[in-house]
């Protein structure tokens, strides 16, 4: 079964495409890495999948449906630095946000929601911190709180943006253990990752990205010198020049 499909997905900032015709189908029940150098459009790809940035062309299907119809089955873990951790909230407050839904507008948080949030915190070994103010957390703990929030949502697909960046060894281990548990439960986890050293051990499946898609497939087929060289060997010269030109001339990617 296919979890996420992107079809000729192009995303532009100021008309310059940062992702060109990304076209792949991801399997279910795997830990999937989106790998590529800095500035290769990994975060943008996640944001496009989650409908956070407008697309210039193409579409995304999740379980063969539009995102709007399957939102509750997809969960998103944004980059830790994307929020201000000085916000007046406790760990529990943040994890409970994973229980908010479109149809619970006006409704108060229930006891069952709190239990689910506590369970999610326990899975990332953070239950004892549930009353802690979030500004007092270390980077790794913040990351685990974000993951717990996403777990509390109880989704089938988890999309995580750089969860391993700047975390301590204990957190890295906790996240890896969690990922393999999730896989055993049949969940699909998509992780943006930039560290080649660890990629081979973390993932079953990878998408190699550098503005365009270089390759996608099971790790043993994709993770080789030639393809990595292609992904990390810089952007395609002509492609970048065309992109620059589109920005300069204010030209859209579709007629």
């Amino acid at each position: 079964m296919i979890s996420i499909e992107t079809h000729n997905l192009t995303v532009s900032y100021n008309r310059r495409p940062v992702l060109w015709n990304i076209d792949f189908e991801l399997p279910t029940g795997k830990i999937i890495g989106i790998i590529g150098p800095n500035g290769s459009g990994k975060t943008t790809l996640l944001k496009a999948i989650m409908g956070l940035v407008p697309t210039s062309s193409g579409y995304v299907k999740i379980f063969d449906q539009d995102l709007n119809d399957v939102r509750s089955r997809v969960s998103y873990v944004p980059q830790r630095e994307s929020v201000d951790w000085d916000f007046p909230a406790s760990v529990m407050d943040i994890v409970l946000m994973g229980r908010y839904k479109k149809d619970t507008l006006f409704k108060r948080i229930s006891k069952a929601d709190k239990d689910l949030a506590a369970e999610a915190l326990e899975k990332v070994n953070m239950l004892e911190y549930s009353n802690r103010q979030i500004s007092q957390l270390s980077g790794g703990q913040q990351q685990r709180v974000f993951i717990a929030r996403s777990l509390a949502q109880g989704a089938d697909i988890y999309i995580m943006d750089e969860p391993f960046v700047g975390v301590d060894a204990a957190t890295e281990e906790a996240i890896l253990k969690l990922l393999s548990d999730m896989k055993d439960e049949g969940k699909t986890v998509v992780v943006v990752h930039h560290d080649l050293q660890t990629a081979k051990d973390f993932f079953d499946w990878i998408v190699l990205l550098n503005t365009r898609m270089v390759a996608a497939g099971p790790i043993e087929e994709i993770f080789n010198e030639k393809l990595l060289q292609e992904a990390y060997g810089g952007k395609l010269n002509v492609l970048s020049q065309v992109g620059d030109l589109m920005k300069e001339k204010a030209f859209d990617v579709r007629e």
């Binding site: 409908g51 007046p88 949502q153």
Partner: protein, 430 residues
Amino acid sequence: MNSTFQFLSFSDPNVLFVVLGTMILGASAAIVGCFSFLRKRALVGDAIAHSILPGVCLAFMLTGSKNPLYLIIGAFITGWLSLLLIDGITRTTKLKSDTAIGIILSVFFGVGILLLTSIQHSGNASQAGLDKFLFGKAASLTKDDVYVFGTIALILIAVVILFYKEFKLISFNPDYAKVIGLPVRFLEFMLATITVLAVAVGIQAVGVVLMAALLITPASGARFWTDKLSVMILIATAFGAISGFLGSYISYIAPAMPTGPWIVMCLSVLTIGSIWFAPKTGMLAKYKVQKDNQRKILIENVLKLFYHLGERGSGFNNERSVKDLLATRDLRTKELKRGLRLLKKENWLRKKGNNWLITQSGLNEAKRIIKLHRLWEMYLNQRLKLQPDHVHNDAEAIEHIITPELERQLEKELNYPTKDPHESIIPYAE
């Protein structure tokens, strides 16, 4: 004293209206201000306040009346328009939001002043008092005003209670709110609407120029007292209401004093007070931590002198003179004497004539510090590969902060070393 009694008894109904009006205005501005503050949009309130002036003038020109309802509707429309334009400018051009706010604020305010001047010269008799919007007219709030403000304040509080958890989420992480399918645009619209409303009514109290203070100051002061959003909103609301009350009181007992500016003065005092005196986060609390640290460093350093002298062969039970001690370490006499006094209070030193003697508990404490110092030197040498002649200064500072927990970790990780990188013995407790 007499006038205080008159004020508090509200024997003059006008006083009651003014007090109620300013308290409601202060409180409602503070509530929405909390969200502006947390969404880092402190200056947007200022832009709305200035943009409201042309709306008020236009409403007066069209209706010819100073009915607060009409004026608020006019204010609301241009206030909203300014928000849309700021948003539009930041989204479609290269200009950043601070620039957009600056542009919109001055353009709208300029137009407002233009309209106001032309109204004032139009010979329309009922225009008198319209210029109060510039500086507020808290002292002349009427019963009608209070009804209108009260209703608006209730609407505003109802909206905040209804959407409390959603407002919290879009203030903390709007992207996440979008992803889980919350109607973020609608929620932002509601938040913007109550902000414009709060500003439109708040202006009646303090005027265009001081409005931003009414919005942001209570929130920024309240943030120092709590880490809970709900509590923060309550404290900010209290700050707003208290300032409204005090501002009216001051202008009552001293009739030459303007109410609006005094409300803002009271708010500022509360906020500056919070910055100074709040527990843990306040400046005073931070200063005290620094002082405590300095004290700890001083007494531990002085205690170490006794250990070092004893270690050099003269024994730990010998008396030391101030002169001996000064020769061991570069310390000012005054500081050394202060350290000695403090150590005596802890019973770690005894005084014998003019000399000083370390007690058994003092010696144990000294050993603990020396041990931490030498363990840390060892750690730097082994783990950070620092040369033995580079580790001392670091250890001088770190020895004062290592906790018993970390001490055990160090011992274990270094496998209970007996000597430091300089071959000095590491003293373990017996």
